[in-house]
Symmetry: C2
Subunit: 232 residues, 2 copies
């Protein structure tokens, strides 16, 4: 990291999108200050740094804000191109493939996963599960092509897609604990299941991924609060 | 363009996402073959080139497919870095800003615009309009910051954000014709209104943007077909 670079992350520990940014910073070997935000009482710094979405994560690089997790991850890779491993491939076609799958995770996997356990009706949640498992199966195929079945979406080392999916691991595991159903099933999606085990053991991941128990507790509290609010 | 480069665009003329890619190719000065697709009877080439989404646009570069319009535009800029003007800035922070606004157009402007005139109920459409005008106002502010009120989102020349928004111009104009309401209003959003006039006059845009009358006719036919289908 270049001398004098100041990196502050405005985050909230449970956010899969914040975890993505932590993963990217860790894998690049960049030190940063985590500035935990209270999302029920947003700080002036958060509101002025991301006036459009008013959301975490925001990365402040020498005071300049960058918003939106995928934009931030690409920024980190480009602004610190000389530091640590590259998160995006050097070949432009491979870079397009990585961006395609990162967008797929945001456009298909994340919404179906949210619907699967926060849908309003049983039917809605069941529809979400169907879409979720279809998306997981498609990602299994992507991993097979990207990694030849070993390693990562980024090939031999982690990249944009690994970071994007990696941000969700603790939450996917928490969903598994709460529902009793494997999402990355070792039988149905063996490559993803093995990828997850491998990914979790990386030092950069260990430092970024919250404990599954803590996420379970957080999810239960939030569900209870939502239920109480809907009764009032 | 490097000798021997073969560019085929699998597209459908009304798609704002296809228009984006045409704009990017035109502004880069790249010649390409447009292979119009029948979306009611998708070709083997489309299905095998984009097996995940089965959608246009797909760019085939020497036979290799690239999917998803924003991914394609960035690919074009990177793969043909030595050809024509750059669509993304060289500075990594400015590049992040451009990606942020391109994502904003896809995540906020496009869905609210769709909802505003294809929402199921009057209430739904009215809600869509509210979100649409809020998004347009935010883009007016973005244009003020990016261009200092003159030129383009990309500054003195067009870039990723101009291309992303530019792909929607014919449709926005068609919506204006059909609803009688200005979307880029010269009084409320003077910078966007002037941007649109300037953009439309560019040679690369003239060659890519479909006639508004043709889009109006297409939209009316589609609405009639949808209404007939819902009666059966």
């Amino acid at each position: 990291m270049a001398g004098g670079d100041d990196l502050k992350l405005l985050g909230a520990w449970p956010s899969p999108f914040v975890i993505r940014v932590k993963l990217a910073l860790n894998f690049k070997g960049l030190s940063f200050e985590n500035v935990e935000q209270d999302l029920s009482n947003k700080s002036e710094l958060l509101l002025s740094s991301n006036p459009v979405h008013k959301k975490v994560p925001v990365l402040l690089h020498n005071g300049k804000p960058i918003c939106e997790s995928l934009v931030i991850v690409q920024y980190i890779d480009e602004a610190f191109a000389g530091t640590g491993p590259s998160l995006l491939p050097s070949d432009s076609h491979e870079r397009a493939i990585a961006r395609f799958w990162a967008a797929y995770i945001d456009d298909k996997l994340v919404p179906s996963w949210v619907q699967s356990f926060r849908g309003k009706t049983e039917e809605d949640r069941s529809e979400g599960k169907k879409h979720l498992f279809a998306a997981v199966e498609i990602l299994e195929g992507a991993l097979r092509e990207c990694s030849k079945g070993e390693g990562y979406f980024g090939g031999e080392s982690v990249g944009l897609v690994d970071v994007s999916l990696g941000g969700m691991i603790s939450w996917l595991n928490a969903s598994e604990v709460m529902s009793g159903t494997k999402i990355f099933d070792p039988v149905k999606t063996p490559l993803l299941a093995a990828w997850m085990e491998r990914f979790r053991e990386l030092d950069g991941a260990k430092a970024a991924l919250p404990d599954v128990d803590r996420v379970v507790e957080f999810a239960k509290k939030r569900a209870a609060a939502a239920a109480a609010a809907s009764e009032n």
